[in-house]
Symmetry: C2
Subunit: 293 residues, 2 copies
DNA sequence: TAAAAATACTCCATAGGTATTTTAT
DNA sequence: ATAAAATACCTATGGAGTATTTTTA
């Protein structure tokens, strides 16, 4: 095993062609350089330098070792540069998990902005239901998770409130209730509703909100995605309740309307989850600034 | 600048996947490993390992650094192996200088043997006159010089007696003196002689020997190489005096004969020369064993 | 509760400094 | 006479050990 500290000094001696100039370059004394090279020669059991009147000249072994040393230290620089790239976010990886509403409707534009800022960072977005995403977080497949379901911190995972989400009742533009401006929750009783599948975070919040107000609706259809629900509502199959974030485009293009139900404000907390004490990558730290908290 | 001692420990931690196993491999304590990695992380200003229940897992930076470390230490091994090859004479270089007689007639067969023993060593044989060869020795172009001329040690160069050389009078097989068995030096007086050029070591020794015995010969021709002299003598142009070593083949093929002149034994010292205090390569050390002293 | 990592302390060999001597031109 | 390298001697600290505590599955 080579003593690389000594080798480093030796390499400078070769570069400078003399012990004293190497000492200067290294900001140590000539004495220290002299002993370092001697010690290296002793450890290797072979002379490396011929001490001539004008400076030093490598022996065959010395020249050979010098060339290898050059490569070793060149590679050291490559390693440092690679770490700097990571530090400066010129390269890296960011793996985010999100439950579907967040992953599909909220994150993409933010990820776009992030990518414009840090084009060298590879982005991974893992979309699944809350349980899946939390599982991926625990098994270190993602570094942060965004979820809508009611999850709680535990000893491994820390949950941080992220932002509020508002759910609205949606209808087709030609729905009987679409023009009403004086709607109250009671008007929804027995209305046909299109729902997400059981287990969906959105459905859970929706059912709680309606149940809390004693409103029983009529389920006409259960669908596995928000997109499908929106299509069904747009086609006039019934009403539904979805996150504001998911219908921006449909409101603009007048394919859906949001009903303004006076006493039915449904809000929920969107959360960010981390593994406790897990060191955060620089890429994540910058993402958190951009994504709010 | 990376602390490569710490990096070496860190690399073992990655290989072993845990601090305590790394400590075992390194024959140091777990405590030391723990502190080494912490110090490396401190110096780089970034965490490298996530400490999990079952051992450790590298962060992105940690994995990146680990890969570079692998290459750095792999290259260290390459360097060590290269030095070992040099040490074991599996590679290397041997530069020998010799004055012409030695270089042409004595060294080649020995170099052949050396090459069979150490096929990895590159051989360089620099043939010139004594002055040229000694100059190349002083300017470090060759590591050892073999010369015939009367050279003396000085403060830079050390001359060591190598072996004796005997010079003999040669003639064409049909020369009038060729059959005589009772020759004495006086019989050579006024005989036609073929000589090497002035400055040749052989010519110098020859002239001294004849002059010492008061014998004046007749110069019929001066030639620039021993080969040319032999050709001329063989063609019957006259006698000459050359080293035994140079005429083995001609004696065997009866193209020349050596005259047995009772009172004319001409011996000279062949010498080996080195630059004082210059470290000797392993390749040279082995050569000296093979070449005698 | 057991295994791994971190921490507190102690020690010393190494790598450095200063001062001087030796070597080579 | 000068400049470079080697050497002698001294010092400080980084890297190691032991013992113990903390952490986590």
């Amino acid at each position: 095993m080579l003593n690389l500290n000594l080798l480093r000094i030796y390499r400078v001696v070769l570069d400078q062609g003399s012990f004293s100039r190497a000492a200067e370059t290294l900001s140590i004394t000539q004495s220290a350089v002299s002993r370092a090279v001697q010690e290296l020669e002793r450890q290797l059991g072979m002379p490396l330098l011929e001490r001539r009147a004008r400076g030093v000249v490598p022996t065959e072994a010395g020249a050979l070792l010098g060339e290898h040393a050059r490569r070793i230290f060149a590679h050291e620089q490559v390693a440092l540069e690679a770490l700097n790239e990571l530090r400066d976010l010129r390269r890296g990886r960011l793996s985010i998990g999100a439950s579907s509403t967040i992953g599909i409707y909220l994150l993409p534009s933010m990820l776009g902005e992030y990518h414009r800022l840090y084009p060298g960072i590879e982005l991974f977005l893992d979309i699944g239901n809350t349980q899946q995403v939390m599982e991926h977080l625990r098994s270190y497949r993602i570094e942060v998770a965004y979820v809508e379901g009611p999850v709680a911190s535990d000893e491994h995972v820390q949950i941080v409130p992220w932002r509020d989400d508002e759910l609205v009742v949606i209808a087709a533009p030609d729905h009987p209730l679409a023009q009403r401006t004086d709607l109250v929750a009671a008007d929804l009783v027995a209305m046909p509703f299109v729902l997400r599948e059981p287990g969906s975070g959105t459905r859970e919040v929706m059912e709680q909100a309606l149940a809390a107000r004693g409103i029983a609706v009529r389920t006409v259809m259960e669908l596995g995605s928000t997109e499908a629900v929106k299509q069904a509502v747009s086609a006039g199959l019934g009403l539904s309740i979805v996150s504001w974030a998911t219908i921006q485009m449909e409101l603009d293009s007048a394919r859906l309307v949001a009903l303004d139900v006076a006493d039915l404000s449904i809000r929920r907390q969107l959360s960010r989850a981390h593994v406790r004490d897990r060191p955060q990558s620089r890429a994540l730290q910058e993402w958190l600034k951009l994504a709010g908290r």
